[in-house]
Amino acid sequence: MAEENITFTLPDLGEGLVEATVLEWQVAVGDVIGRNDPLVEVETTKSAVVIPSPQAGRVVELHAEEERVVPVGDPLVTFAVEVAEAPQAGIVGRVPTEEAAPRRRVRLKPPAE
């Protein structure tokens, strides 16, 4: 398995909000967290919310200090996640395996020439 960095930006929090203030990080650099674990507490002009993590992985960087205003779309956090060496992204179904020797039960009688 190889590691890849994935950066998560401040998502659109709806209702036309364009920015949010980071109140308190619920994770620290080095933490290994699961998907949907509490990530960061932010405040918008409407309310305070806790954003769950969109990603499982190890936190490698927090891009905004507490009390900083972050515009929607700006980097919030970077995760290191494990990725398969040869990704078969999005495959639906399975790769067919070829039988070494095709099997059969029927035998043919050659035609009279």
């Binding site: 209702e15 619920q26 507490e41 405040e43 409407k46 305070a48 806790v50």
Partner: protein, 242 residues
């Protein structure tokens, strides 16, 4: 699950089972004025914290709010109506006793619930709430037109999608008709008060706590709108409810 309690004023509520129950009583979360269970509690990360603590969460949208019916007559928003709604909900869910956590208006209603039915409230947290009635002096004036802390709250929440400003104004007038008084205190219900250090709506919360013999936790640096999601608040509640 999310369901509706059908009645004269139908109430939407959620009933969330814990990750692993330890047999403790459910927690009833009462949101503040102009918000809803989802906005006040869910978005702030509360269900997850309480579920992880082994607690079942019951979260109504109070009448006039969220997905519940929104009548526009102020006479339907007296504290006793809310208390009736809550007792009807607990009966419908076959829940005898709960811990109650209120925020702002929800705290005032928690207090009323505990006064009306002390046997059904085991412990109670009043957050974002103080002895000064936020609605004092509202009278017949339209809320949101002045410069009191409540006017500011009203203007913010009246503009939220899904809210009905007329119903919210009726709710404000209904509650103002029966102002909060800190005596008598609900007997036999252990109480904790929590407030942001900058919360003007909850001014005097520590005095009320002292007068009631309740604990008090202050959230540094937080005001009325952003104290709800604070980790310190959640930890204090989980600790207090035990």
């Amino acid at each position: 699950m999310t369901a509706n309690l059908i009645g004269d004023v139908t109430m939407r509520y959620v009933d969330l089972p814990p990750q692993a129950s330890d047999g403790s009583v459910p927690v009833l979360l009462l949101h503040g004025f102009g918000t809803s269970f989802d906005m006040n509690w869910r978005a702030a990360g509360w269900p997850r914290v309480l579920e992880a603590a082994g607690r079942r969460v019951i979260g109504p949208d109070l009448r006039g709010h969220g997905g519940s019916d929104k009548p526009t007559e102020s006479g339907l928003y007296l504290p006793e109506h809310f208390v009736d709604d809550l007792l009807r909900l607990l009966d419908a869910l076959d829940v005898e006793v709960v811990d109650v956590v209120g925020y702002s208006m929800g705290s005032r209603l928690a207090w009323s619930l505990a006064l009306t039915a002390p046997a059904r409230v085991r412990r109670m947290v009043l957050a974002g709430f103080g002895p000064t009635d936020a609605l004092a002096g509202l009278g017949e004036t339209a809320p949101g037109t002045g410069d009191t802390p409540f006017d500011h709250v009203f203007r913010t929440v009246a503009a939220l999608p899904g809210n009905d400003p007329e119903a919210l104004a009726a709710c404000a007038h209904g509650q103002a008709a029966d102002p909060f008084v800190p005596v008598p205190r609900p007997e036999g219900v252990p109480m904790l008060l929590v407030a942001g250090a900058e919360d003007t709506v909850a001014a005097g919360a520590s005095d009320l706590a002292a007068a009631c013999g309740a604990g008090f936790v202050e959230i540094p640096g937080r005001h009325h709108a952003n104290a709800v999601s604070a980790r310190a608040f959640k930890e204090a509640v989980v600790d207090f409810l035990g």
